[in-house]
């Protein structure tokens, strides 16, 4: 469909072999000294368990299988505490926190989390217990599983005296160490914390001492609001992008927030970073020439904004593969509608996806392997949830990736396998 008339009606979902991402189990596995206990029908645990194997964290996950009788009678609740007893006696090392995960059916069972939580807290005062939800049945609600997971994870933080420190919320990967954001933090003498940077549970808890949360994923906005209310940590949202204007504006605002924390007046001149990044954008556009570009929604949190940026710098973006337009991308989408009404937009989850009508885009350079699989391309930039790229340095990294993908071919099936996707 053309961008000018693109719509995203509710259809059956097609989940291609390239569908998936970090998954709850892998994101929860970022918490140091965590253990996860799923109490679900056996089937519900298969993908997360095998996803955990895939990502080397199966030693952090166990399963209590519920039978039909236990579900119907509600007797599964009585099994949870003994299951924890048995589990903890079997584990070689005691976890600092235990995250329970109910499946979709848990939303219909009225599990008494408060009673269970108090009983467990009394039995094991050294462990923090939280009840999370692996319930994609709530994907269209205000509380889909990714959001409730991070709200639960960060609810373990306690109110502490504030330090010259900020936290990154929502980055699954450690932010690219070459990003200029670290230079700015250093100029202010401000430290940083984040989940993937936490080497142990105590380091993770230090996030409670932060003076600002920089929110890098919509999954963490709810938690950021709660932390502001309960821990007194203000937040600032900035979702990763590759637009020099947006990045420059971000740094200007961010610097002001940091000045309030550090008490230092810092002039952070981004012009050199910006001109280097823009040179990369222009040179890469020239290098790629007329090569068509396809962008998919699993590659970056802001695929529409990425399309806009690349088009503005002369790239031949021809296909945008998204299942919806997020509220924070509406402006970019309107820009595309107005300025590039002929841009092709496809919903990879649509029931017509298995017709593979987009094979005519097979020569495209695909940013993200989901559209790479869909169009059958051999030129794939393996970007997944932004890979930890950030700021002007992120632009440079992405451009290097595009040139590499343009010059070399790769096998999409191998990339999918190596991606260790969790559904």
């Amino acid at each position: 469909m053309k961008c000018s008339c693109a719509e995203f009606p509710r259809t059956l979902h097609y989940e291609s072999p390239a569908h998936g991402g970090w998954g709850l189990v892998r994101m929860a596995g970022l918490v140091p000294d965590v253990y996860m206990l799923f109490y679900t029908p056996a089937a519900c645990g298969r993908h997360s368990s095998l996803g955990a194997y895939q990502n080397g964290i199966k030693d952090k996950v166990s399963y209590l299988f519920l039978s039909e009788e236990e579900i119907v009678s509600g007797s599964y609740e009585k099994q949870l505490v003994p299951a924890v007893d048995e589990l903890l006696s079997a584990l070689p090392k005691r976890p600092r926190c235990l995250l329970f995960f109910g499946g979709c059916i848990d939303d219909f069972l009225s599990t008494d989390y408060d009673a269970l939580g108090s009983e467990l807290a009394q039995r094991y005062p050294d462990i923090k217990f939280r009840f999370c939800h692996m319930n994609p049945i709530q994907l269209d609600s205000k509380n889909p599983p990714g959001i409730t997971l991070f709200t639960n994870i960060y609810s373990m933080l306690e109110k502490r005296e504030k330090r010259r420190q900020i936290s990154f919320l929502g980055n699954n990967n450690v932010l690219d160490p070459e990003s200029e954001i670290y230079t700015l933090l250093k100029l202010h003498g401000i430290e940083y914390r984040s989940l993937p940077d936490s080497k142990d549970f105590d380091t993770f808890l230090e996030m409670g001492s932060s003076s600002l949360n920089l929110v890098l994923s919509p999954r963490c906005l709810q938690s950021a609001r709660k932390q502001q209310e309960e821990l007194g940590i203000p937040y600032m949202p900035f979702l990763p992008c590759y637009d020099p204007d947006l990045i420059e504006t971000f740094y200007r605002n961010f610097n002001e927030r940091l000045e309030m924390i550090s008490g230092r007046r810092i002039v952070f001149d981004t012009s050199e970073y910006r001109s280097r990044a823009e040179a990369e954008l222009r040179e890469t556009a020239e290098h790629l020439g007329s090569r068509r570009i396809a962008i998919d929604f699993q590659a970056t949190v802001r695929p529409v904004t990425l399309a806009r940026t690349l088009l503005r710098y002369g790239f031949n973006v021809s296909l945008l593969a998204v299942d919806a337009v997020s509220p924070f991308e509406k402006e970019s989408f309107e820009y595309l509608r107005e300025n590039y009404p002929e841009l092709e937009v496809v919903n990879p989850l649509h029931h017509d996806a298995p017709k593979y009508e987009y094979r005519c885009f097979g020569d495209s350079l695909c940013i993200g392997f989901d559209c790479g699989y869909m169009v059958g391309s051999e030129h794939i930039a393996d970007l997944q949830e932004d890979n930890g790229f950030f700021g002007f340095a992120g632009i440079t990294k992405l451009m290097a990736m595009l040139r590499e993908a343009h010059d070399n071919s790769s096998d999409v099936n191998s990339i999918i396998r190596e991606a260790k996707l969790v559904i």
Partner: protein
């Protein structure tokens, strides 16, 4: 707490078995779920999905949501299915169940009837729940196909149906073709090879078989149905190595003779435990015992038929049972999926890897052995 799995993953569930039985037939398969169950099927239980772009397989998620479940809005799900079917024109439509629809009492058969009325495309509803093993879903799907497309026909001599042949039990590296070749070489015709290398049209000829060969426990359930409905007798076994014993079993069955015979146990220095699917484990046990005289027991991970159990076999085994068995000191050798190895704590137990898709999925599905031929001959010879 027998239901606590600390080390092993949950095994392939019923809805994946259902999907596997239907996968090659050109139908539209809809997992009635929110996302994760479809993820199980396509991400971990269906090796053929990797080539979906060339096979044009049509497996979907119904994208079920909380409000639809609470308000009983099955009509919205039906609308989505009808819209997709009108666009894709599948040979049939299958609505496959999962835990939440079970909980809210979904009437799958009723929904299928409405879908069929609106699309004029044959439609099925399966009340799989995600609480049972794949064999159960396989059986439901295959019997539904037989009910719809097969009828009793005059018997064609020396013809058989293969039942229970899926990538879940046999991988996707050519076991289907190897078994079919073995039968062809021995002038045994295959009417329908449920559920690999077959078509809807071939299901129509299944009722003319002289014999059904159930290659797995899932196939036994189907064979029992066909015996009742079409009067076709069956045997349950799997070919190993040169396949001679398998062919012998079939020839004996054609003659109405039973092939079962006592195997002499004379080597008491070792004892084997095979952990896995019942029919293939029984057949492998026979190979081991005949060749070596070593007593071999079977522990069944999935559903089982009581009449196929031998004294000393184990059914309904959970992770804890497996841990106890492999560390009991009773067994010198364990044959099982590679993931089972982590449960063995003793140094004096030899472990022989025999990959099962239903256990370790994509991590070892490239290693599922070809049963007929030198690879299996070497495996058995090295073990014994």
């Amino acid at each position: 707490m027998s239901n606590l799995n600390i080390y092993l993953p949950p095994f392939t569930p019923d809805y994946s078995g259902c999907s596997s039985a239907l996968y090659e037939l050109g139908g539209m398969i809809i997992l009635h779920d929110a996302s994760g169950c479809t993820g199980n099927v396509l991400g971990y239980d269906e090796p053929r999905w990797e080539s979906a772009s060339t096979s044009r397989a049509m497996v979907f998620c119904s994208a079920y949501r909380h409000l639809e479940a609470v308000l009983g809005q099955d009509d919205k799900v039906i609308d989505r299915i009808v819209e997709a079917a009108n666009s894709l024109k599948p040979r049939f439509i299958a609505l496959v169940g999962s835990p939440v629809p079970m909980l809210v009492g979904t009437d799958y058969v009723g929904m299928a009837r409405e879908i069929e009325a609106r699309t004029s495309i044959a439609s099925f509803g399966f009340d799989t729940k995600g609480l049972e093993f794949y064999d159960n879903g396989y059986m439901k799907a295959t019997i539904a196909l037989l009910r719809r497309y097969a009828r009793k026909l005059p018997t064609v001599r020396r013809s058989i149906n293969l039942l229970g042949l899926t990538p879940i039990d046999f991988g996707y590296r050519g076991n289907d073709r190897a078994i079919l070749s073995l039968l062809e070489e021995n002038r045994i015709a295959v009417n329908c090879s449920f559920s690999m290398n077959f078509t809807l049209e071939e299901i129509g000829t299944a009722g003319q078989a002289e014999l059904n060969v159930a290659l797995s426990e899932a196939g036994v359930e189907v064979a029992l149905y066909m015996m009742k409905e079409f009067g076709i007798p069956f045997i349950s076994t799997v070919p190993y190595s040169d396949g001679k014993r398998f062919i012998e079993d079939i020839e004996n069955a054609f003659l109405g003779r039973t092939a079962e015979r006592e195997v002499e146990i004379y080597n008491f220095d070792r004892r084997f435990l095979i952990i896995g699917e019942q029919v293939s484990s029984n057949a492998l046990r026979r190979e081991i015992e005949i060749r070596s005289g070593i007593r071999t027991d079977v522990a069944i991970l999935f559903s089982h038929r009581p009449e196929l159990l031998r004294k000393g076999d184990y059914s309904f085994v959970q992770e804890k049972d497996i841990r106890n068995l492999v560390n009991s000191g009773m067994y010198t050798d364990v044959v099982a999926d590679p993931l089972i190895k982590q449960l063995i704590l003793r140094d004096d137990v030899a472990f022989h890897e025999n990959a099962s898709v239903a256990v370790s999925s994509k991590f070892h599905w490239d290693e599922v052995r070809t049963l007929v031929g030198q690879e299996m001959e070497d495996f058995i010879s090295e073990m014994v």
